[in-house]
């Protein structure tokens, strides 16, 4: 078994399952946002919608899903292309840099979302 400390959950199965569930949550969230926007929004209605606790929880859930989905997806891309096999030893450094940079970016986005909806 190949052990990977930088993968999201370290288990291929749970990474896979989390990514699928996260995908469904994101789809539902953006379907809702799309529906609201097609029917026309004003500043007041938009703010009222996001003042609901249920909507805030849904937004946070979508943000968490986005971060998990992106982490798992990017991790797979980095470990496919940015490897010692493909690029020599500098592949290892580049991969680690990209992994850390993308995780930090995703966590920053997440905190930003929290600040926007609860701030």
């Amino acid at each position: 078994m190949v052990v990977q400390v930088t993968s999201f959950s370290r288990s291929g199965l749970s990474d896979w399952l989390i990514q699928r569930v996260a995908g469904v949550i994101l789809l539902a969230y953006f379907a809702l946002i799309g529906y609201v926007m097609i029917n026309g929004v004003s500043y007041a209605s938009w703010q009222a919608l996001h003042a609901h606790s249920a909507m805030r929880i849904f937004t946070l859930l979508a943000a968490l899903s986005f971060a998990a989905h992106a982490w798992i997806g990017l991790w797979a891309v980095f470990t496919d292309y940015l490897t010692e096999r493909m690029l020599g030893p500098r592949g290892n450094r580049l991969r680690r840099f990209c992994q850390i940079a993308s995780v930090l970016t995703l966590l920053s986005y997440l905190l930003w979302v929290v600040q926007i909806i609860w701030g």
């Binding site: 199965l13 399952l17 496919d80």
Partner: protein, 235 residues
């Protein structure tokens, strides 16, 4: 005259691989690609190197990239692959070339070895043999027929990028062949060894494997079954 272009590389004399062109008179017959290779080797250049044995799609030794698609040269008819009178033959992609069309299959076999391709049973052996109901035997159809030609794994991008960590379609088809066997009792240990992010989960369902298998097998489906078994075991 059929225009044939063959990948040549002899590491002892060539600094880099190159394509060599041949003209072959097929006398209008619909030959197999292997026949064309034999005609070149016999009549034009005896140094052209490839593997072959059974010449009838049974041994799995002449898996090649034929006009860009992996297949067995011995059962690929010219009429199935030649367009515009041109035949391009290269070694299977993604594996190191030993010479001309011969590749080093070590990585491929190492993945096969990892899935422990033999029956494991911890119950006392019966006097004659372990029996199986016809229904249980049927579950192995579409799995046991694999001839390990590597056409599938060497057409899979996930195997190209991680041939040392992703088991690949051929190995996974065999992994499922033993997971599905009613006479095997090591199911749990087998599944435990497949739960990491690479062995199974590098499969992204691209289905190149299904597209090329000369035996008409479906590794993607087997991989789906393994995923379901992993899911049922863990949730």
């Amino acid at each position: 005259m059929l225009q044939v272009s063959i990948y040549r590389y002899n590491p002892e004399v060539d600094s880099a691989p190159y394509m060599q062109d041949f003209s072959v008179d097929t006398e209008g017959k619909d030959l197999m690609v292997l026949d064309v290779l034999e005609m070149i080797k016999d009549g034009q250049d005896a140094s052209v190197t490839y593997r072959r044995s059974c010449r009838e799609g049974v041994c799995g030794s002449d898996g090649l990239s034929i006009n860009g698609k992996n297949g067995l040269a011995c059962i690929t008819a010219l009429s199935d692959t030649v367009k515009g009178n041109k035949l391009v033959v290269r070694p299977l992609p993604g594996l190191p070339v030993i010479r001309d069309l011969v590749v080093d299959m070590s990585l491929f076999y190492a993945q096969y070895e990892k899935i422990q391709p033999y029956l494991q049973n911890n119950t006392p052996a019966p006097a004659i043999e372990r029996l199986q109901t016809p229904e249980d035997r049927e579950k192995l159809d579409g799995l046991y027929e694999c001839i390990l030609c590597a056409c599938c794994s060497t057409s899979c991008p996930s195997f190209w990028w991680n041939p040392d960590r992703f088991i690949g379609p051929a190995g996974l088809l065999q992994a499922y062949r033993f997971l599905a066997d009613s006479r095997d009792t090591a199911t749990d240990e087998r599944l435990a060894g497949l739960d990491d992010p690479f062995s199974v989960f590098r499969c992204h369902g691209i289905q190149n494997c299904v597209n090329v298998c000369p035996k008409g097998l479906n590794p993607t489906k087997a991989i789906g079954h393994i995923r379901t078994m992993l899911l049922n075991r863990a949730t």
